[in-house]
Amino acid sequence: MQQDLIRNFCIIAHIDHGKSTLADRILQLTGAVTERDMREQILDSMDLERERGITIKAQAVRVFYTAADGQTYQLNLIDTPGHVDFSYEVSRSLAACEGALLVVDASQGIEAQTLANTYLAIEGDLELIPVLNKIDLPAAEPELHAGAVAELIGVDPSSVLRISAKTGDGVTEVLESIVDRIPPPHGDPDAPLRALIFDSVYDQYRGVVAFVRVFDGSFAKGDRLVAMQTGREVAADEVGVMTPTMLSTGRLAAGESGYLVTGLKAVGDLKVGDTLTVARRPAAAPLAGYREVKPMVFCGLFPLDADDYPDLRDALEKLSLNDASLQWEPETSQALGFGFRCGFLGLLHMDIVRERLEREYDLELLATTPTVEYQLTTTGGDELAVRSPVELPPPTNIDSIREPYVRCTILVPTDGVGAVMQLCQERRGQYVTMTPIEQRQQIVYDLPLAEIVTDFYDQLKSRTRGYASLDYELAGYRESPLVKLDILLAGEPVDALSMIVHKDLAYGRGKALVERLRATIPRQLFEVPIQAAVGGRIIARETIKARRKDVLAKCYGGDISRKRKLLERQKEGKKRMKQVGSVEVPQEAFLSVLTLGSSSDGNGARK
């Protein structure tokens, strides 16, 4: 197809602001999905797709639209991942487009995450079409929000579309605007191939399926391709587009988006952001913007039942097939036994992986406190990367430690500003700026990533009654005076409870942690001291009391079996505890580390 009849675009929206509904409506209006086939939220319904035998999530859907000018256009709607952890992936999806719909809920207004993605789009020089959705809602304030959206992207408020994706009202105008305002691609169709990989999925029958946007040249089924960053050779086993079902076209040309079946075995074999070219006629240089994705957050995952270790390994292997950013390696903890140290893009990614492991693979897991990757220089001048407190050398061997910082953008109603700033101060934040947006404030802080990987988000939500929204991006490493805080149970250090903290916070955190542990660990047969120590010096102590009474009250002939079975049930209950030396520690104890930053949160309950 002629490039001037092609439009590649994506939708930027906060969760629940109507991205999926609008996508559905576009598919319906363009006839890609008939009325009878219409199901809610086609792009997001993985289960439904599986049921229908379409195992591939539609990352790029091609539809045809005959516009008011009488021309029929090829519209490629490219999906973007919806979370802060995946900002690099989002940036690659945006890079595949010439324009984007900026969808904002007419009753909620702009959220932090929308803001971040909007900035990414502006940086990527995308044409933005502002759209206020849900104007049919009684709480809609289209005038107010239209003004803010227009100001954000520097356009006239009258150019902001007002629609209801739910009723279909205004969606035709959206399609017309896509055709009118978003520029067509303008690659060189005769140049050597340059195709951007913006996503990939693993399918058990086809192997890795890559989603690509062709910038220059073209390729066809059967071509030998090369991924220019990694040098990996890729066979184009099948080439086509999603309509949204897979439709083999045999060829993709400059300006188009579609899929490529590679037969590769794991998504990690193809990197998002890499450039594909044809092996026998390679391009001179890859497309810009490629970056190696590195995990930012780490934690240990241990099976509650040691017998599940092989199952956990299998499950991680299977998840990795479809998740190139998940890293893991075996880890052994004195307290928790055999497990894996896993690396994640961010907090949400970590939660998703844990939840999938527990739900889809039926594993009971114990997760240690999330940490970040510290960089340190030893007194001998060696550079070390440390992802676990256990790896930290003794203080005398450390010359300096650097920790990752993130720039946090927080949008909050004006009355929540105090609470947010207090929270950021407690977490060693450094104030950057504050600017009003609509009736809210956009607060920017630089924070150590380590301070937000535990319960920062929960605290932010609870202290602002749910009104604050958060986005963050990596802002480099900074030197910090960090120390290792050890926790000793009955005199023995418990590796899974140790953590790396700023030296000024060590006393407060140590004290809070031993108090929390005393409240969480039940009485034991013998008295157990709980101590917090920094560099061998005890800074806080609590005591778990010894049990004073534990008897089965009555035991007569008729209930010997019952009493024995009661002991068996008690034993079953004990299995849910981790035996640390002679101390039985419930799982919650290992989680209590997570809530430590919340000094102003009296009871410390985790949301």
Binding site: A553, K554, G557
Partner: protein
């Protein structure tokens, strides 16, 4: 041959709030039929019974059978009794008087165990007990006057709302009665009981420990031996039937829901009165659930039962613990003593017997 016999007599006038036993309320018209069924079951079991050292008539409220029916049953048993056999009956204070005790005594009963539970009207109310403190005192006096070999009183502590002062008062009351034997249980709130349905909560560990410690101390200083977790006796007045359970001896249980343990097999009679009466019939055999006790289970039961007693556990008899390596630590911690094939809990160890048991044995 089995030398210990339990007979379950399930009838009750009402169900107490904490009761989780097999009892029958409002079925007094079935007493004759029940007596006949138990006698028929006894006849069927007779060949397995040796000379009986102990008989225990438990309930329910056995005294609701009235002395005449008890006498018929004990007449059947008379030829089986060893010399000096202990024949116990449980009694609710409001169901017995001097005449009844005299009849029971003549019928062969040697030991009476009276359910007092408390002497505090408020606590008796919380437990749905029918007897007043006066009735308890009167019943104890009658039984003592009748000259039974042993009179015992049952009490409870840890009743929701119980205060330390109320516990002291119960201690003073029971000591004033000068009985031979006292069973003092901590209240358990079993599922399906009225207390559980009301959402009653047990006191915390420190309160219960204080209560338990003061009970043990006061009764010991009054000359009772703390011979089992919850049982206290003047020297020589221990309940021999209960000791048989705690020594893991074989026993036969007759009646609805009754349990027997014979040669490594435990069996439980059907629990419903109607089912029991319907099934016993002429052959005297009700439906029974059986459980074979393998060697490991028997060993774990022997430890579970044996550590309840104040006398040391003979490890040659009981078998080795699953985790012998913890003995040294428990001994160093002052919870038990071990020497020459004998293991005994220390005084402090007895208060945490259950936790010690979990260290030593693997219940799975």
């Amino acid at each position: 041959m089995v030398r210990h016999l339990y007979v379950h007599l399930p009838f009750c006038a009402s169900r107490c709030g904490y009761c989780g036993f097999v009892v029958e309320v409002g079925a007094l018209d079935r007493r004759d039929a029940y007596l006949a069924a138990v006698r028929s079951e006894l006849a069927a079991e007779r060949d397995g019974l040796g000379s009986l050292e102990t008989v225990y008539l438990g309930g329910g409220t056995p005294t609701l059978m009235r002395p005449a029916r008890i006498a018929v049953l004990l007449d059947d048993l008379a030829p089986l009794l060893a010399d000096g056999a202990e024949v116990s009956i449980e009694a609710n204070p409001e169901t017995v008087d001097a005449a009844a005790f005299a009849q029971l005594r003549r019928a062969g009963v040697t030991r009476v165990s009276l359910g007092a539970q408390s002497f505090q009207p408020a606590l008796l109310g919380a437990l749905d007990r029918q007897a007043s403190p006066d009735q308890v005192r009167r019943a104890v006096a009658c039984a003592q006057a009748e000259g039974f070999g042993s009179v015992s009183v049952d009490l409870l502590f840890g009743v929701p709302g119980q205060t330390a002062a109320q516990l002291d008062a119960d201690l003073a009351e029971v000591l004033a009665l000068a009985v031979d034997h006292i069973s003092w249980y901590e209240l358990e709130i079993k599922p399906e009981t009225a207390l559980a349905r009301m959402g009653a909560r047990l006191p915390d560990e420190d309160w219960a420990a204080d209560a338990y410690e003061s009970i043990v101390a006061r009764l010991e200083s009054a000359g009772y031996r703390w011979y089992e977790t919850a049982n206290f006796a003047r020297p020589g007045r221990e309940c021999r039937h209960s000791l048989a359970y705690w020594s893991a001896r074989d026993y036969v249980g007759l009646g609805v829901g009754a349990v027997s343990t014979i040669d490594g097999v435990r069996r439980r009679n059907v629990a419903g009165l109607a089912a029991y009466l319907g099934q016993v019939g002429a052959d005297g055999v009700p439906a029974r659930a059986t459980e074979a006790l393998d060697a490991a289970t028997r060993r774990r039961e022997r430890w579970m039962l044996g550590l309840r007693l104040d006398r040391p556990l003979d490890t040659e008899w009981a078998g080795p613990p699953d985790h012998p390596e913890v003995i040294a630590r428990l001994e160093a911690g002052g919870l038990l003593t071990a020497a020459a094939g004998r293991v005994a809990l220390t005084r402090r160890g007895r208060f945490v017997q259950n936790a010690v048991l979990h260290e030593l044995m693997e219940y799975a």
